[in-house]
């Protein structure tokens, strides 16, 4: 396997859905190629950092307006039926 093929298979490799023979080939290449190893490692860390970052909170006023609008919609539907 060469560096270009690593890029092609990168997403499947990171998602753990690569077939075993291709994965073995890819990992053999990684053991010999520092650049590809660093790209795989930093890509994996990129996903991990976004996954673990602080959540966006749902502000109470935003939630309250949503539920008020919903209740109004429920009432209108109830009146019309």
């Amino acid at each position: 396997m060469n560096c270009k093929k690593v890029v092609v298979e990168l997403t499947s490799y990171l998602d753990g859905v690569l077939d075993s023979s291709t994965r073995t080939e890819l990992e053999l290449h990684l053991s010999r190629c520092t650049d590809c190893r660093l790209v795989v490692d930093t890509c994996r860390k990129t996903i991990q950092i976004f996954c673990n970052s602080e959540p966006v909170p749902l502000p109470e006023d935003v939630r309250s307006r949503l539920h008020s609008a919903l209740l109004e919609r429920f009432r209108r539907k109830a009146k019309s039926t």
């Binding site: 890029v7 790209v39 930093t42 950092i49 976004f50 909170p57 539920h67």
Partner: protein, 229 residues
Amino acid sequence: MVLCQMCAASLFAPPGARWFVSATDPKPLASTIVRDDEAALVSAAKGGDTSAFEELVNRYERKIFRLGMNITQNREDAEDVMQDAFMKSYQNLDRFQGDSRFYTWLVRIAVNEALMKLRKRRPNQVSLDEPITDSDGEDSLFREIEDWGPSPEKKFAQTELNEILNSVISELDPIFRVAFLLRDVEGLSTEETAHILGISVAAVKSRLLRARLKLRQKLNKYFRRSEAQ
């Protein structure tokens, strides 16, 4: 900024990770529907049980708001996206056939609403139909190959890290940003992401690859080991 519900692979899940958003817990509802059974909730809501629909809202409101924020990068737009998504899903509930999860259907509505917001803001720049190529070319994605060390994010305070992540993801083209958010942040499968975006699985993989490589490249200047703090 963002929080993963179901990371793509177990190797991405560190011990002690926070998996739930920090908004106020939803008030308990009087619905008699079993909480874990989404299909039953949808069925009851179709039959006129408004508390069942409200339970679905309680279950997904944080996720939809977060998705709206991450796509539009704007709080008012995110609120509109969330309201419109729930209102439209309620209005069209009878048309929901149940051939996908209700959540997936809801996300599809929310993504369309969010992209419409972006198109209104930047009518000439936002399209889901544009080709999956850009002026950078493939080669540029393989520049700046440097070691980040074991926990590069720890070099920054939480607020600063959030600003960095917000900044780099907002620079990403919306078609790549949405693929990354749905697959890697919201934890949807590649197939679900393809269904939501109305594109092939191969196209999702292609967009995801480019999004991951671009984000990696953009984060490199902050996280490389050689970067002095």
